[in-house]
Symmetry: C2
Subunit: 249 residues, 2 copies
């Protein structure tokens, strides 16, 4: 029994905002990385980026391809994942506006090839810059470097949390954890619930929680019975985040 009569399917996950120059600059100024540099510095930084658009399904970066560019998403969502040698995939994160991906490390330091894949999950506008050029910005603008360090630290913390969850918890806990994490990042109020603003199949949740699509479905059904979530085809909304939080702790 899905919550079929009031499905949010038709709420557009992300409008196709075009990537105007104005939007682009506004994006940069809003981005944590560039929060505390002067206006004219934003302009200077802005001029070194170039815009890139992707259609839903396009590869933004691709495991094994030679690395060297750095992307900041402007609009849309994208999936960041790694592929197992046997073809299975682990979904590491869902990126949205303001998030970035790609390599910062120079050719020479760090791997020469991307180790993750990023695919546009809607139409995506992004800005992009070569790693070397980005490093030059970091050198010239220490505060940007500091922010970069902060952001990386926070991502690392998140990854460590994930390691902890995957290493020592039940499927139920892991699914709850993933839902909460996504809702914090992509949540949008909707009918007293928090709708996760991204197309989200069971398969995908499973890939994030390190389980199978079937187990994931069973868990969601159970959550629904307990009135913790609402979910349908391709979407999930949290009804009772607090109780979910308790499942983890």
């Amino acid at each position: 029994m899905t919550d079929r009569h009031n499905s949010p399917v038709h709420i557009p996950a992300f409008e196709d905002e075009s990537c105007t120059v104005a939007l682009r600059k506004q994006l940069l100024r809003k981005n944590p990385l560039f929060q505390d540099i002067p206006e004219n510095a934003v302009d200077r930084v802005n001029s070194r980026f170039r815009s890139v658009s992707f259609e839903k399904g396009d590869y933004i970066i691709r495991e094994g391809k030679s690395a060297g560019r750095f992307y900041i998403l402007a609009t849309g969502v994208a999936k960041l994942f790694r592929t197992h040698p046997d073809g299975r995939t682990t979904l590491l994160d869902i990126l949205s506006s303001g998030d970035y991906c790609g390599s910062i490390a120079d050719a020479g330091f760090g791997p020469r090839e991307y180790e993750e894949t990023v695919i546009a999950d809607s139409n995506v506008c992004s800005i992009s810059i070569g790693s070397t050029a980005f490093r030059r910005i970091l050198e010239e603008q220490p505060s940007v470097a500091l922010r970069t360090v902060d952001t990386l630290s926070s991502r690392l913390r998140l990854a460590n949390e994930m390691v902890q969850q995957l290493g020592g918890s039940s499927v139920e806990t892991r699914v709850a954890f993933v839902l909460l994490r996504l809702s914090k990042k992509l949540g949008q109020p909707w009918e007293d619930k928090i709708l996760i603003r991204s197309p989200l199949s069971r398969e995908e949740i499973a890939a994030m929680a390190g389980t199978s699509a079937e187990s994931c479905s069973r868990t969601l059904s159970d959550f629904r019975r307990r009135n913790l979530v609402s979910a349908g085809r391709g979407w999930v909304a949290l009804v009772d985040p607090e109780s979910l939080e308790n499942l983890i702790a």
Copy 2:
């Protein structure tokens, strides 16, 4: 059957080198973070750090305690882990000379409390600095900031790899992965093998691989039968790293 008659137990895991001033400076100069700054800058940086020693078993940082310091290990090894609410622990990494831990993020940005625990696993000498002071260094020395970004990126990559392993692999694969990872970091040639230079109980390997001590023991026994590793009480050495690598891929 452990390899009992030629155990490396008496090879001291880490000599109690004292943390002399000379050693300390040498350590800084060798550290990736400070690799490309001039000699006199190293001195200036050095003067802002202070030395701290820990006995085996001491807490270096502790989950829940108010954050604000940054540590670089000089000598010894330490365990970095997170504690589940139910008391179980997940070993995230084993730190050795040159590794660091603690918080870089300012009070104000990032969490105010450490989210991980670090315990000295031998006598440990470290140098330490307040987060704010460290950030000042990052501002003044852009190349240090760049190096910090690189190191964090690389740690993040490692964490993501771990997420992938924990999310989608068998216990055998995960144990192999952990052993390889540790050997790359703490390996020391010994009798044609690679000895992992750290006291390493089954329990600990299990905590890193996200499994139980018993399963870990079984896996190691199996590896021993296949002549992939040697292992005894508190130590493991890799006999055939290449084959282990194949288990993962």
